[in-house]
């Protein structure tokens, strides 16, 4: 018998629960659809950081990528679904790593080269794609080969751009660039007396340890991690090398060569306002800053008036610097998606012409020696110096999972020392105590 409520026909409880269950099921299906299933056939998800995506800050880059996408889709009949990471690279990499470990990562994605070691086990073998494109691994600078293979014996990432750190100096104030710590202190004191200082990032950031700390430490023979993943500076003689590196950076501040506010500089670019305002005689910065400052500095030819030299080391030789950059990695389970995704990024970013054009548009350094001589590549006034750095001085950071914790602890130590809140030895001890 059909029950009717006093107010007339209405939903009974069972029907209502049935509808709720149906709605729930539909919602669940919708949520499930947010994953792999919603991707139409013959398409793949391509994820990039904003500056390398269709949201790039310059029209040239966007036009280039649109053209490559159009050409690729016309030639293959495949469709590319663009996705963009957030500007917070740490959070983006953490999210991507989580997705990769759960099999939910985009089919092809950019991965910051220094964390690729964490991703390598989830990334697919790109060796066949490289071979098909006629790009031998030997063509890359040696340090990037290690990143690309990440101790797996296979090519699992394609590093398509890089950068190095150098000492920029004003030629009128610093005729001969300092090579050693003593020379830098001497020259720095002289220019500081004229109100022109040395700048470099020295706060809690990856950029700060890359630019200021690791080169000093490496140049004394130190290594960041031991093969078992423990901090390389936990024992002598590397402990002393790390303490001395921090003490030297502190001395640059206490002797007035560098202003104390560098302890707030999160990245290399934060020196730019002081360079533009004419307050800098020297700064330790990234290779991309040369091209940026050429545009930013008015009424002056930055490339003509400034020089670039290796970051001064303790002894004046054994110079080192950090090389960073980005890689492409494929996470798709379907080999056809890996093949298509890799083909697109190789054509656009990795093969000789793609790398030459993309690095020219973005102001990046190519990761293969041959690309520097490609007709489509145009560098800046400092490109030859950077190329020499890549060949002689540039190193990549350890690919071990422990690196991030060690780096984070040393970022705090560096910031404590340059803000004069802690002595170098105590800062190293605190850092070691933090590392679990």
């Amino acid at each position: 018998m059909r029950r009717v409520s006093p107010a007339g026909p209405t939903l009974n409880r069972r029907r209502m629960l049935g509808l709720a269950a149906a709605a729930g099921a539909a919602g669940a299906a919708g949520l499930a659809g947010c994953g792999r299933n919603t991707v139409p056939p013959k398409s793949f998800r391509w994820q990039a950081i904003p500056t390398s995506s269709l949201q790039a800050p310059t029209q040239d880059r966007v036009s280039y990528l649109r053209t490559r996408l159009r050409e690729y889709e016309r030639a293959t009949g495949w469709h590319v679904i663009p996705e963009v990471m957030s500007e917070d690279i740490d959070a983006s990499m953490a999210k991507l790593l989580l997705q990769a470990s759960q099999g939910r990562a985009p089919d092809i994605s950019m991965v910051d080269s220094y964390v690729f070691g964490r991703f390598a086990r989830y990334a697919k073998n790109l060796g066949p794609a490289l071979e098909a494109a006629g790009l031998p691994l030997d063509g890359w600078f040696p340090q990037f080969r290690d990143v690309m293979t990440a101790e797996t014996g296979q090519v699992r990432a394609l590093q398509f751009n890089t950068d190095v750190r150098v000492l920029y100096y004003r030629k009128d104030l610093v005729p001969k660039p300092p090579a050693s710590w003593d020379e830098l202190l001497h020259v720095g004191k002289r220019t500081a007396a004229k109100g022109k200082y040395l700048f470099f990032p020295a706060s809690r950031s990856e950029g700060s340890v890359n630019t200021a700390l690791w080169p000093q430490y490496w140049s004394q023979g130190g290594r960041i991690l031991n093969p078992d993943g423990t901090p390389g500076f936990a024992a002598e003689p590397n402990r002393r090398a790390m303490i001395d590196s921090l003490a030297y950076l502190r001395r640059l501040v206490t002797e007035g060569v560098a202003p104390r506010r560098i302890a707030t500089f999160l990245g290399e670019d934060e020196s730019n306002p002081d360079v533009i305002a004419g307050r800098a005689a020297m700064f330790i910065g990234g290779s991309w800053q040369g091209a940026d400052l050429q545009e930013l500095v008015e009424h002056e030819d930055f490339g003509e008036n400034w020089g670039a030299a290796p970051i001064p080391s303790r002894s004046g030789d054994n110079h080192t610097c950090v090389a960073g950059g980005w890689t492409w990695a494929a996470f798709a389970e379907d080999p056809e998606l890996v093949e298509q995704g890799t083909k697109f990024v190789i054509d656009s970013y990795v093969d000789d012409e793609g790398m030459a054009r993309w690095c020219t548009l973005g102001g990046y350094l190519p990761t293969r020696e041959a690309v520097y001589d490609h007709p489509a590549y145009r560098g800046d006034a400092f490109t030859e110096v950077f190329r020499e750095h890549l060949a002689r001085y540039a190193r990549v950071r350890p690919l071990h999972r422990e690196y991030q914790q060690v780096s984070s602890a040393m970022q705090v130590a560096l910031s404590s020392v340059t803000s004069l809140s802690e002595e170098p030895e105590a800062a190293v001890d605190s850092a070691l105590a933090q590392i679990v």
């Binding site: 107010a7 759960q102 002081d274 999972r401 679990v436």
Partner: protein, 313 residues
């Protein structure tokens, strides 16, 4: 079935508008909410507590083990003690000044409104704007203000006044903590002001008039009439801004990143740092649990106070 219908009808006779099916079973209506809460609150909470007893990383399939080592290393570490100390200082000064300034501005706006002065609404809106701005943006705004060269806004103004233009607002560890407290007070005073302003509207005007006629001055009428009327809202305000300040990390991250050194490393920022920079899910979860316990104690104090007050009433 018939018996059930009859019993329901006995308890809640149908009105002219009709009786809603299932009204006698409130759990049915609460079920969707309970399910949502279970799914998005209780389950993640249990997961966080579970993970806090592991050394798990953010990577899903990396092996991890259970134990209390994470808590032991956190509680035993000097850096965590410092973080807690910094967090409590940050919260204490932020909350005290947000309460006082919020009350002061609310009283001024209320007085302006009662006197029919123009601009009361505009003032309220402008103050509230600070609250509506996301924490990261607040951080960026204050980065520009605190910039430590003559290009910095505060240093420039200070230079114009002849007070020097090289003040170390954020590169000096002591100043940095004060600087983030000031920025947080600027952001949080707005909410405090709105709550206090709402409270002031409930103060009985006739009672205020009466005590004034009896000869009470402004301070005495505030103490005897306004403050007791505001007390429930002050308690709500205190708990809200305390919990909000304990959870603040976005503004600090944008402004100082926790530095220099660890001078502005508040607890919520440590959680973010552990989870997203160092990918240490277990350690980050353990710190989250500590933060949760602190917030739970704050809310517990509020409920205790409320129940006592209601019992007295």
């Amino acid at each position: 079935m018939t018996a059930t219908t009859t019993r329901s009808a006995d308890r809640a006779p149908a009105t002219g508008a009709g009786r809603i099916a299932g009204a006698s079973r409130p759990w049915l209506w609460m079920l969707p909410l309970a399910l949502v809460l279970l799914l998005i609150f209780v389950y993640p909470l249990i997961e966080v507590v579970r993970l806090s007893f592991t050394d798990a990383s953010l990577v899903g399939d990396e092996p991890y083990s259970y134990g209390t080592d994470t808590y032991r290393s956190i509680i035993g570490g000097q850096d965590f003690a410092e973080t807690l100390q910094i967090t409590f200082l940050f919260v204490l000064f932020s909350v005290v000044f947000q309460l006082l300034l919020g009350l002061l501005i609310a009283m001024l706006v209320d007085a302006a409104k009662r006197r029919g002065l123009r601009g009361a609404l505009l003032t309220r809106t402008v103050v509230l704007t600070a609250w509506a701005i996301p924490g990261v943006v607040v951080g960026v705004i204050w980065v520009l203000l605190y910039q430590e060269s003559s290009s910095g806004i505060l240093n420039h103004l200070s230079g114009l006044l002849g007070l020097g233009s090289e003040h170390a607002f954020v590169s000096d560890p002591d100043n940095a903590l004060v600087s983030i407290i000031v920025a947080n007070i600027w952001k949080g005073t707005a909410l405090s002001m709105i709550l206090m302003y709402a409270g002031l509207q409930t103060v009985p005007r006739d009672l205020l008039e009466a005590v004034r006629i009896d000869g009470a001055g402004p301070l005495q009428s505030f103490r005897t009439v306004t403050f007791p009327a505001l007390l429930p809202l002050i308690t709500v305000n205190l708990v809200t801004i305390t919990v909000e300040t304990f959870n603040t990390f976005d503004m600090v991250m944008a402004l100082t990143g926790g530095g220099p050194g660890t001078a502005t490393q508040v607890l919520a920022l440590s959680v973010y740092d552990q989870m997203f920079t160092q990918l240490s899910l277990g350690r980050g979860a353990a710190m989250s649990v500590v933060l949760l316990l602190i917030n739970t104690v704050m809310i517990g104090i509020y409920f205790r106070h409320t129940f006592r007050r209601e019992a007295r009433a």
